[in-house]
């Protein structure tokens, strides 16, 4: 036992002290934040290009568009031809408002270059407003109805459906948005597990190959059992992974708190600015979405999030141990890293399959594929956490865990046999048939 602790210590500290580990552990969140900040900047960056747009106004509207800091509208002769105008470098685009625009609600925008959607939608919004106002004025005039505008406004109706589930006799508010948010989260957890298992499994394999090709392994197994070396390696590398996850968690926590303080305020005002600049319509949709999201987040039970994290954590560990034992056996059977690629393919395939099944399961959590993939131990570590937000019955969860644990024990025993023989076997091209033979060896 003591010797396993010594091995775990070496495996852990050698890796944690590596520059690469520090780079990835601290660099990845920074990169992530950098990218986020960059996209945010691009999205929030105001359009400062100055444009002059010629307007051929054949309609009855009186100079409907007004110039601002960036866009200048020039009202040209209404018999002018847009082609002639576009030859003039001065004009970015030509807007033609036909005589019957009030009835058809159609105008043309000519340009040499693609006009940004924002620019054209701004113009169309302003024009729509003016025309709408004229129509309302006309109606008010014709029908003599006071406060017609307010009355029309009052006819707009949007029905909200709040879904309430009965669970154990209790009413639980939920929304389809909440379900979506949860399943995205769960899919994130599933992806994380896939990523961690394949990365850290790979590190185990690399470590075993390194010991073998360094020729140190026989020195070590003259002091400890090969099994102790294998377990020490798997546990030590698991601790490296846990350290990394812990650091990431703490960093993300700190960063989100800090960014909330620093950027939170300015972000909010910018959003509000945008909303004010925009149209009544978009504002309404915006506040609608906000409401729905708020409602959805409010209706997510914190218990579910905790369950997702706990179950995700357990499956990460178990999935890692299962696949790490395979990777260790493969590393022991191979002579160098090139050999491992060929041998590890049959191990990587179920993991990849689990990853793709997880996407399907997120959309279709009640399917029989979802059930079987979360029971079969080679896919369950990735698939089961994805199902968690959709109320997996306890017996299914326990069955899945029990099968997984039994499989892990069996696989570690098999892997240990292959490992023990493989680490001392040099210069032999090993295939899967050979590995099966090794499993059958006694001692």
């Amino acid at each position: 036992m003591n010797k396993i602790a010594i091995i775990i210590g070496r495996e852990y500290f050698v890796r944690v002290k590596q520059k690469m580990f520090l780079l990835v552990t601290f660099g990845a969140p920074l990169l992530f934040i950098g990218l986020y900040a960059f996209f945010f900047y691009i999205m929030m960056k105001e359009d400062t290009t100055e444009r002059t747009i010629a307007v051929i106004n054949k309609s009855e509207l009186k100079k409907p568009l007004h110039s601002d800091e960036t866009t200048t509208f020039e009202y040209v002769d209404k018999d002018a031809l847009y082609k002639d105008l576009l030859e003039d470098e001065k004009y970015y685009a030509v807007l033609e408002l036909p005589t019957d625009i009030e009835n058809t609600a159609k105008g043309q925008l000519y340009s040499n270059k693609q006009v940004p959607a924002e620019v054209s939608s701004d113009m169309s919004n302003i024009l729509s407003d003016i025309i709408r106002q004229r129509k309302i004025d006309k109606l008010t005039n014709d029908l003599q109805i006071p406060e017609l505008e307010e009355k029309i406004e009052a006819t707009k109706t949007k029905v909200h459906l709040t879904s309430v589930r009965l669970k154990d006799g209790e009413e639980k508010k939920s929304s389809s948005m909440a379900a979506t948010i949860l399943s995205v989260l769960a899919l994130g957890v599933g992806f994380m597990i896939f990523f961690l298992v394949i990365t850290y499994g790979g590190i185990v394999m690399k470590g075993v190959v390194e010991e073998k090709s360094n020729r140190i392994v026989e020195v070590i197994v003259s002091s400890v059992k090969p099994f102790q070396l294998m377990i020490g390696k798997i546990v030590g590398i698991a601790l490296v992974g846990l350290t990394q996850i812990l650091i990431w968690g703490v960093l993300l926590g700190i960063i989100s708190i800090v960014s909330l303080y620093i950027f939170g305020a300015s972000e909010m005002t910018q959003m509000q600015d945008m909303a004010q600049q925009g149209q009544q319509m978009t504002q309404e949709i915006g506040s609608d979405i906000n409401d729905v999201i708020h409602e959805a987040i409010a209706s997510i039970e914190p218990g579910m999030i905790i369950k997702l994290i706990v179950v995700g954590f357990i499956y990460t560990l178990l999935g890692y141990v299962l696949y790490a034992s395979f990777y260790a056996a493969i590393g022991a059977a191979a002579d160098n890293e090139t050999d491992t690629q060929q041998l590890s393919l049959p191990v990587t395939i179920p993991l990849l399959a689990a990853f793709y099944i997880a996407f399907n399961v997120a959309r279709n959590p009640e399917s029989s594929l979802a059930f079987w993939a979360s029971i079969i131990p080679f896919t369950s570590p990735v698939v089961m956490p994805v199902r968690i937000p959709f109320d997996v019955p306890w017996w299914e969860l326990l069955l899945s865990l029990a099968i997984l644990i039994i499989t892990i024990i069996a696989c570690i025993m098999l892997a240990a046999k292959i490992y023990r023989i493989g680490i001392l076997m040099y210069g032999k091209k090993v295939n899967w048939k050979e590995l099966v033979k090794w499993v059958k060896y006694k001692n």
Partner: protein
């Protein structure tokens, strides 16, 4: 006997690696484990180190069956040996010592002694990949002997060593013997075997074909050949007494190699005294190299 292997059998798939192998290693001796490549030496050594288990047979350590705990009383330098390339020499040596059961402080203390003795102290904080092969070999030797094992096993210790390091390690091995350690020594290089070993066992085709004290083994393979040197004329061979194998006449003496018929050495001496002026009369003892080749060839001829 410090270690006895009794009737060891080991089968790998279709290949029988060890066939009823028994050896006895006397305490405080240097025991040469010899044999051609693939004869089964490394398998036997791995069984003694409990890296693999025999199919049948047992290994006794000081008369008791070898147990897992005995591992800390054995030091093993395998033929396929190496170190972690990216780990520092000092850290790595401490790690290997801890695996043998030494505490960290104890390991440090002993390492200091050995590193000073081998003049490798300045490398303590260097990574193994910065060391030359010879330097790494010294580190490996130190980590093998550090825990003062009662039994040391060196599998091809000199392969890849330069002559200076070979001599250094040879001296250390003899020194360890003087301090009471028993050493199993597997090598291809017969002159070094002759130089350091007291006992040998020769394994060929998975079987022990020759075992014993190095002198008795050589005695067994001597062919009653004598080197004689004389002046004068010896005349024709007397087939009932001797046969000349080889003669070389120089300006002053005649040097000859003769085969004397079993039990007729005294007659031969008398004959020489009568006929010539004897300068030298010496029995030719075969070298270990010759013994090795002869024993293996005879054995191979038998098995064909």
């Amino acid at each position: 006997m410090l270690l006895e292997a009794k009737n060891i059998n080991k089968q790998f798939a279709k290949h029988k690696a060890l066939d009823d192998v028994s050896i006895s290693i006397p305490e405080n001796s240097i025991f040469g484990l010899l044999g051609p490549n693939g004869a089964g030496k490394t398998t036997l050594i791995r069984i003694i180190n409990q890296i693999t288990a025999p199919d049948t047979g047992e290994v006794l350590f000081k008369g008791k069956p070898l147990k897992r705990e005995d591992i800390s009383r054995i030091g093993y330098l395998p033929e396929e040996r190496g170190l972690y390339k990216k780990m520092k020499v000092g850290d790595q040596s401490i790690y290997l010592a801890q695996l043998k059961g030494l505490s960290k402080s104890e390991a440090k203390e002993r390492l200091k002694y050995w590193f000073d003795r081998m003049h490798i102290m300045p490398w303590w904080d260097k990574k193994v990949q910065e060391l030359s092969k010879g330097m790494a070999q010294k580190v490996q030797f130190v980590t093998t002997v550090l825990h003062n094992p009662e039994l040391l096993i060196f599998d091809e210790p000199f392969s890849g060593f330069d002559p200076i390091n070979t001599n250094l390690i040879k001296k250390e091995i003899l020194d360890l013997k003087a301090k009471g350690t028993t050493i199993i020594f597997s090598a291809h290089d017969m002159p070094s075997v002759e130089e350091v070993c007291d006992h040998i066992a020769l394994i060929n085709n998975s079987k022990v074909i020759l075992e014993g004290n190095i002198h008795s083994v050589k005695e067994k393979y001597k062919e009653n050949n004598y080197q004689i040197s004389y002046t004068g004329d010896l005349g024709l061979d007397e087939p009932s007494i001797y046969k000349t194998l080889h003669t070389k006449i120089t300006d002053y003496t005649t040097d000859a190699v003769v085969k004397i018929v079993e039990g007729r050495k005294n007659e031969m001496l008398r004959l020489l005294a009568d006929r010539v002026n004897v300068k030298e009369f010496k029995e030719i003892i075969p070298s270990m190299n010759e013994v090795f080749i002869k024993a293996v060839e005879e054995n191979n001829a038998l098995s064909i």
